[in-house]
Amino acid sequence: MEFDWSPEDAAFRSALAAFLEEALPPDWDERAQDGPGSAQQAAFARDFCPALAARGFLTPHWPAAFGGRDASPWQHAILGEELWSRGEPRGPQYMNVNWIGPALLEYGSEAQRAEHLPRIARGDVFWCQGFSEPDAGSDLLALRTLAVRDGADYVVNGSKLWTSYANHADFCFLLARSDPASRRQRGLTVLLAPMDLPGIEVREVPSVVGERYFHEVAFRDVRVPEAARLGPEGEGWAVVAYALQYERVGAPRYARAARTLDRLAERLASAGPLDGETLARLGEARALCEAGRVLSYRVVDRRARGEPPSADTNVARVAGTFAEQWVADLALELGGCEGLEAGSFADAQFRMAMTAGVAVGATEVQLDLIASRFLGLPRE
């Protein structure tokens, strides 16, 4: 057990931070307030991701054969901390490098890897995630979208919901039921569906979280070629379970919360000396961010030693979510009524954080998994 950064990882972080200092525009913090899916952030990512790629900062943790340099999972985590905490200048592309790429590396055919990995590694492609449905939210395995074989194609019918970035996406990482008679985790298949296929319709679901944050993606008789199937037919749940282990800690919410807290403290201090009560509340919130950080590091540590994913991921997720929500509440409370104006500092923090307990599986689902897998408690 030791808690020092290796010289390589420390150097990587400072090089990345120096690059970001110079590459992000001076008003970046304000521009980033609408979240990675906003039109301007996606537009920014179109130029920024190739620039990251050119410096070796997009996929360093990938194998050299696919555009990476076999960097440690710790550098993957550092990337997430430095970029997500700054409001995610990669826009929706953070998902590509965090979990779509790794899923392709694990399950992709040679042709699929050749088609997708270089585009992701160059930073010129957007993906969205087609998991949730109107009747399959926390209970993802209730999903009903069908992908039925017909000759050399799968014919997809159904509807995906809450799909962030669907308006920008070139591809959808689509989970559907290839066996209409199947139930739960059996009979599911993953398709790498191009979003420009005939029969796909994207509709915004307006929300208070932000503009174009949620979408519904309707599939009507969409013909997806068999060659776009990721992994074996009927084994889609294994593919998704693999990807989810990366996704749940892929966006380091604790890091964003910690940076928000730094900015909040700075804003408060600029208005006058921080009193004891304010200091105590800021410190308390930072301690919660620290909990999220150290538990996420535990997950990365297991990954770095090649251990199979464990319920540590769910433990880290719960702590990260809690920290982000706590900090967002604090930003509102310490900022007072000024936070009620759309686009104000506190408003942006608050609305970015409000989905934390629901996205990627509700906190209650995480707690269920901790109870069964981490504490070994019997199912109800």
């Binding site: 057990m1 030791e2 808690f3 020092d4 950064w5 290796s6 990882d9 710790w74 730094d262 403290a265 700075e266 201090a269 006058g272 000396p273 921080l274 004891g276 200091l279 105590a280 509340r281 800021l282 410190g283 308390e284 930072r286 301690a287 919660l288 620290e290 909990a291 999220g292 150290v294 538990l295 590091y297 535990r298 990365v300 540590d301 297991r302 770095a304 030693r305 433990v315 719960v318 702590a319 809690f322 209650e364 995480q366 707690l367 269920d368 901790i370 109870a371 981490f374 504490l375 408690l377 019997p378 199912r379 109800e380």
Partner: protein, 310 residues
Amino acid sequence: MDFELSEEQRAIAEAVAALLAKHAGWERAAALAREGACDFALERALADAGFLDAATSGEAGLLEAALVVEAVAHAAGAVAAGAAALAVPAALGRALPGPVALADLAQPGPVRFAADARTLLLLDGAAARALTLEPGDVPRLETPYGYPMGRIPVSLAAAGHDLGPGAGARLRDAWRAALAVELAGTMRGALETTLGYLKQRRQFGRPLASFQAVQHRLAACSVQVEAARWLAFETAARRAPAEGAALAAAYAAGAARRLFAETHQLSGAIGYTREHPLHVFSMRLQALRLELGGAAEHARAAAAARWGRA
């Protein structure tokens, strides 16, 4: 970064666990607590085996000391291991004759191990003083909060020799790191006790631990215990920096408050009795979480270290 024990660390952890299995445990702690007594036999055993000077003997370091302190807390040892093995070496770079008690003059009231201590460290604002105690110098007092305690007489408040410039801050940081480690080990004991009980306790025809309403609360507790433990080990390994130690202590003290409430609520009436292990851990949590001003004061110190007291 490496969260797994090295071979040497595993050897230390296994050896101290074996010693504690023989010389500590909740029943012994409960009996000693009833008399307000310090466990000198355990202290001697730990010292003889070299565990209390892990951080100053040269071969190991503060992280190894933290492993020992966490294990002692988890086994409900009634010894001042946090001060001897971790806080004093981290602050002063050397050992002092034990037991060592730490008192903050800004926090009046009972002080853990003060009635049994050979060395008393006094925090007086930015200054710190050390004095050697004779038996009876500090009167023992009665407390239900699990540790032997004493009250520092006013006559001793200005006594002792000054430990030099900066010693107050160093001692405060180191003490916070040790507190975080002791809180982590004690919370682990409280949670494991509760988990074990709820798995076997049947009501409504099934184990209480099979109810989702109970499981979610246990799961949330386990998140906090895990986080407290890793933060405590991390800050010890980094030699108790001001901000990191204060954050680890703030987190652990805040978690301890919730752990007390949750473990007692979930354990029901048996949890209040001296026939059940929970009180040995839970009552100590209250003592630990108040030291040095408690969670709010740790948080304030962390914030001041990070953002300045403008």
